[in-house]
Amino acid sequence: MAALIFDFNAPLPRRLYWDASFLVHAVYPAGRYHRECYDFLDRLSDVGETLSCVSTLALDEAVFALIQLKVAEDYSEREFWDVYHENPQVIQPYLGELRALVDRLSIDPRIQVVGTAPESMSVALDYMGSYSLLPRDPCT
């Protein structure tokens, strides 16, 4: 079934899907389209009938993008993979915020995490914290 794509100002459906790009722009203040996505979150806050769905795959993609963005802020002159391969521990300082984000998404009744078991990302974060793995690696 093809996805239906609407403008941010269109009437809200009963269910809508957040892709990783929307999620990253919404939660990362420096994102180019943060303001537009923030305003849409604000609109969703007041509408009780709309359930937002986000997949575990989108969470995986968003968490990895956010890690890269954070590393780029702190190591602006270097490529992500060079920094990570030199010291995988480099991701550790960012995991607390990412865990808080995933936990917050998981408990909000206006958001439904779909795909693999909702706790998968949380378990993956456990492995990321223990072994400095990147989000998809604990699952492979």
């Binding site: 990362y28 203040p29 389209y33 909000d108 706790e119 690696d137």
Partner: protein, 91 residues
């Protein structure tokens, strides 16, 4: 009939249809009690709305100016698993 699986996380994960049948919602807190072979789920409290969704934008910090980063540049790669030490593996 459902199959029990254990997790290290403090969650009770139910099939969605069973959860709906029991009148539970995501985030509800329940206490599990056992009497002989009967298990009881007692709902303790219902999680209230955790605040506006815009709270999500206050979790991840950034030192960069608002709206200054081309996020898509960090999202156009496909696959990043470290397979056999190759971080640039492509399907």
């Amino acid at each position: 009939m459902v199959t029990v699986r254990f997790s290290k996380r403090e969650y009770l994960i139910l099939p969605e249809s069973l959860g709906r049948t029991l009148g539970l919602r995501e985030g509800d807190r329940v206490e599990v009690q056992r009497q002989d072979n009967t298990l009881q789920l007692r709902r303790r409290d219902v999680v209230r709305s955790p605040g506006p969704l815009t709270d999500l934008s206050r979790i991840v910090s950034s030192s960069r100016p608002v709206g200054s980063v081309d996020v898509e540049r960090f999202m156009d790669e496909h696959g990043y698993e470290q397979i056999h030490g190759r971080s640039d593996f492509r399907l």
